[in-house]
Symmetry: C2
Subunit: 209 residues, 2 copies
């Protein structure tokens, strides 16, 4: 698929349409050419509009990246939220599924778009709130699963919020685009082995003999 195919057609349109066309075009450029090499002028040219018109909607490339990331991140968060609250799966199965989903989603995006990590690195450098809110929302999904597991007696955690943050931080090697995208070959145990190791930390203890 060429970049041109991903850019929405010009038509008579409203402001929200223009805004979403800018985002779709920026998204395609950031993924294919990379965040660093894409300019606001590139995005404007692809849309046959002036850079000044782009700046009517977004005051910087940073602001465009934040909006592009919000959308991408929103998709991942919806997946995790759905798993966290899925009926019919026990808490262990939900935790396994949530980790597996984050890992697969990250790996898939990094393989399909080898420059996607540039968008995340730019956000890590200059858009702290976007990163912070994303970490908080994914961790909140883990926390709901762990709290439910504690309530059902299948997990034990004195502080489910902290346990959730630990699980989330511990899987960075498998779910953080900066590590997954840049070092797909870096030696590490399988995600299944890591998940089993983390689940062991959450397992209830019998009283010691």
């Amino acid at each position: 698929m060429s970049l041109a195919d991903t850019i929405p057609c010009l038509s008579e349109e409203t402001a929200p349409d223009t805004r979403s066309r800018i985002l779709a075009t920026a998204d395609a450029y950031f993924r294919e050419i990379g965040y660093q090499k894409t300019t606001v002028a590139d995005i404007a040219r692809a849309l046959k509009m002036s850079p000044a018109n782009v700046y009517r909607f977004f005051d910087s490339k940073k602001a465009i990246n934040e909006a592009v990331l919000e959308r991408l991140i929103g998709e991942v968060e919806a997946l995790i939220s759905e798993i966290a609250d899925r009926p019919g799966l026990d808490p262990t199965e939900r935790l396994v599924a949530a980790i597996e989903t984050l890992h697969r989603d990250c790996t898939r995006r990094c393989e399909a778009f080898p420059r996607v990590h540039e968008m995340i690195e730019a956000a890590m450098a200059e858009s702290w709130d976007v990163c912070r809110h994303h970490v908080a929302r994914i961790t909140a999904g883990f926390e709901r699963i762990i709290r439910d597991g504690v309530a059902r007696g299948v997990f034990e955690a004195a502080d489910p919020a902290e346990a959730a943050a630990c699980v989330h931080a511990a899987i960075a090697r498998y779910t953080h685009p900066v590590l997954v995208g840049k070092s797909p070959l870096q030696p590490a145990p399988s995600v299944e082995a890591m998940t089993a190791f983390l689940l062991r930390s959450l397992a209830p203890r019998g009283p010691r003999p």
Copy 2:
């Protein structure tokens, strides 16, 4: 301290001296100016020698980086190896000390030299063996601690090598320069909370009632 202060003096010298002066100069440039912006010509100019003379010792900037990293990495590995085999500390204390040491060393280097992560990223992109051996040697230190803990009955791990690899991968957020250097503010539990979470996974289980 200026960059010039870190460059060794010219003197009549042997080939090993020249090699180590090239490494010390490259090291200073990579830390201060960054791996990307440093050229072999910069290193040669600082040493008042020709680039051709540098190439007599190292056939590429990549080869220089590998030698610089081997030295830096060797220091970290020696620290961890010493802790892993330290008499008088029990296995839990040794695991805590090893994680704390890796975290403190990484944080200190990233704070002192904000561009140090470029050297590591370059190695991740083009010097796989250096990365792989480093991960293997640090993980081997964790494995010795865990095996000793299993032998003494203070840890339980069906596969100590895999448990060691999981502990090492789980602390990437605290010990990998690409995450520590680029996102010192990224939300995460304290390293102490993470260590306690991982130790819980290694704790022996009493038989369930």
